[in-house]
Symmetry: C2
C-alpha cells in the first residue's frame, strides 16, 4: 500500500459501470452469413448470403476468413472508406488463438487488436472502438466478429462427420460475420452508451445448455445499465440479447422479473430469431457471428426504416474452453451492453 | 459508397500510427514467475517467485491462474487500490479461449475485456488501458498477461511427458504473469506514446523458430514509431523487444540496420535476458508472461533506480495456432510499441 490514487471521477463515466460516448456513429456495417442462416427468419436483413458454407475452400477455417473479410469489405464500402484510412481493426472469433481475425487483419493491413469475449466479442469491439474514436485516439475504427458452424463444432464438440446426436438445449453456431466502421460522422445510428460486463458464473457446467449459463450475465449487465443511467425498459424500443436461445431467454426474463423489471414485449434474442423451427437448430443460434449479424443486419436496418429509435444490445458469451470443461470447471459467462440511437 | 466521412484528425494522434497519452501512469505493477525463471538472470527483479511451478494445484491450467491472480493482487496493493475501485480489467493469455484470464476476471469481479495478441498481449492491454484512462472513460484500469510452460507446451507442441527433443531455435515459455494498474496519478512511470502493430507475415512457417517470424513485426513497428514521432534511437535509454530470443534479435537488428537505423547498445530482448545459458532454454524465453514480467520487473525497477529515463517497449507475438500450422499456413506476427517515461 505504497501510494494513494487521486479519487478523480473520469469525465465520460455514468454511474458505476457505464460510459457515455458523445460522437460515435456506425458509419457503415455489414452482415454476411452462410446458406443455412440465409434460409432462416432474417434472410432479408443480410447483406450477403454465401451459396456455399465452405466458400469454395478446402478447409472450414479458410472459409471462415472469407466471411469476415467480406463483412469488413462491405462495411468499409458502405462508409466510403478505404482500409488505409482506418486507424484500428478490432476483431475476434471463436477459434483458438483467433486465427480468423489474425489472417484477416494481415490481409487488411490495418493496425490490429485481437479481442475475445466469445459470442459477446462484437460488443467488446464496439465498446473499445467507440472509446478510441470518442477519446480522440482514432478517426475510424473497424470492428468485426465471425464464427463458422463447422470450425466451432469440431473445436468445441465433435467432428461433424461423427454426426453426434444433438440435445434440444444445444445451440447451432452461426456461420457468418458482422463488421462495422465507427467514426465521428456517418449515416448510421449513434453509439451512445456502454455498460461493461463482469464475469458471472452460477456454477453451471452443462456445455449443452450455454443459454442458461449466459442468462445471469445478461441480467446482471441489464440491471446495472438501468441503475447507472436511470433509464427504464420503456426508454428502449428493443432489448436485443444474444445468443441466449430459447432456454436462456426464458431464464433471462425470469431473473429480470425477480429483480422487479418487466420486459413486456421489448425483448428479442438474436439466437431465437436466426433459424426457423424446421431448421432444427435446438435452442437457437450462437457463435460470435450471431449477435454481430443480428445487430448489423436486423437491428440497424429496422432503425433505418424507423421501426426502432433506441436499441439496447446485450450480446452474451460463454468463456469456457473444451479443456476447462473437461477439467470439471463451471462455465464463466459475460455480457456487454451497447446502446444504439437514431 | 453511400456516405462520406469527414476527414477529421483525431486530437491524440501523432503521425500515421501513433497516439499520445497526456496523463497515464503505471500506479502499481507486479511480476510473478515460477522457480525456473526465478533461477535465471532476473531473480532480483521479480516481486514473487513461486516455489512450485504447479502452485500446489493438480493441473497446470489451475496453477497458471494463481500466477495471474497474484500479479493482479500485488499490482493493486502497490497502487493502494481495491478491486472494486478499478473500472476495467484487460487481460489475456495463450490458452485456448483465454481461460486463465476469464477465471481470474471472475474472481476479481472487475468488468472485463479479454485480449489476445499472443506474446504481445501485454502491450495491447497497456495501449487500450491507457486510452480508456486518458480518454476519460476510466479512473483505474488493471492490465495483465500470463503464460505457463506446461500449459503452453502441451497446447502448442507436445505433452511434456513425451520429452520431445528441443531445437536450438525453440523458445522456452515463461511461467509467470505481469500486471499493472493504470491511473492518472501514481508513483510509477508515465505511459506516453503508443504505436499499434500491424500483422506482418514474411511467409515463414517454422514454429520452432518464432523469433525469426516475429522480428519483422518488431522492426516494422519500431520504424513507424520513429517516423511518426520524429524521435531517434538516441532519445531512448532502452529499446526492449520481447520475446524475440537470440535468433530473432539478430534478425531484428539486421532489418533495422537495413533501414538505416543503428541501435548501438540500446537494444535488449526480454527473451534473451530471462534465462542463463546453462538453463538450456534454446533461443530464449517466450510466452505472454515474458514481456509482461520483464517490463514490470526489470524495466520499471531500473527506471525507479534512475538507470533508464525513457524506455521503448516492443513486445512481439506469433499469431498462429497449432491448427493453422498443421494446415500449412505461415505465421502471422505482431508487435505493439509503448513508451514509458520517468
Amino acid at each position: 500500500m505504497s501510494a494513494t490514487i487521486t479519487p478523480a471521477t473520469a469525465a465520460k463515466r455514468v454511474g458505476n459501470f457505464t460510459v457515455a460516448f458523445d460522437q460515435v456513429r456506425i458509419a457503415g456495417r455489414a452482415a454476411v452469413v452462410g446458406p443455412h442462416e440465409g434460409k432462416g427468419n432474417l434472410t432479408a436483413y443480410f447483406d450477403h448470403i454465401a451459396a456455399d458454407p465452405m466458400w469454395g475452400e478446402s478447409s472450414a477455417e479458410r472459409a471462415e476468413r472469407h466471411y469476415l473479410r467480406t463483412a469488413c469489405r462491405l462495411a468499409l464500402e458502405a462508409a466510403g472508406v478505404r482500409p488505409e484510412d482506418v486507424n484500428y481493426f478490432l476483431a475476434g472469433d471463436l477459434l483458438n488463438q483467433l486465427i480468423t481475425s489474425n489472417f484477416v487483419a494481415h490481409s487488411l493491413g490495418i493496425p490490429f487488436y485481437g479481442l475475445f469475449n466469445a459470442c459477446a466479442t462484437i460488443a467488446e469491439g464496439l465498446a473499445l472502438g467507440a472509446a478510441l474514436v470518442d477519446g480522440g485516439f482514432a478517426d475510424r475504427v473497424l470492428v468485426g466478429a465471425s464464427s463458422h458452424y463447422q470450425t466451432a463444432e469440431r473445436q468445441y464438440r465433435y467432428p461433424i462427420e461423427l454426426n453426434v446426436q444433438r440435445k434440444p438445449t444445444n445451440h447451432w453456431t452461426t456461420t457468418g460475420a458482422g463488421a462495422a466502421l465507427l467514426a465521428r460522422d456517418g449515416a448510421g445510428p449513434r453509439l451512445t452508451l456502454h455498460t461493461a460486463g463482469r464475469v458471472i458464473d452460477y456454477g453451471l457446467k452443462d456445455v449443452n445448455d450455454m443459454g442458461s449459463a449466459m442468462a445471469p450475465a445478461a441480467a446482471d449487465t441489464l440491471l446495472r445499465h438501468l441503475a447507472d443511467t436511470g433509464r427504464h425498459v420503456g426508454d428502449y424500443d428493443l432489448i436485443l440479447t444474444g445468443d441466449l436461445g430459447r432456454q436462456g431467454s426464458k431464464m433471462f426474463r425470469m431473473l429480470v422479473k425477480e429483480a422487479g423489471i418487466t420486459l413486456g414485449g421489448k425483448h428479442k434474442d438474436g439466437g431465437v430469431m436466426m433459424f426457423k423451427p424446421e431448421q432444427q437448430a435446438g435452442a437457437g443460434a450462437s457463435g460470435a457471428a450471431c449477435s454481430a449479424t443480428v445487430i448489423f443486419g436486423y437491428a440497424i436496418k429496422e432503425m433505418e426504416r424507423g421501426r426502432y429509435r433506441r436499441v439496447l444490445c446485450l450480446p452474451t458469451g460463454s468463456l469456457h474452453s473444451p479443456l476447462s470443461y473437461q477439467q470439471g470447471e463451471s462455465i464463466p459467462t459475460i455480457s456487454h451492453a451497447v446502446v444504439l440511437e437514431w
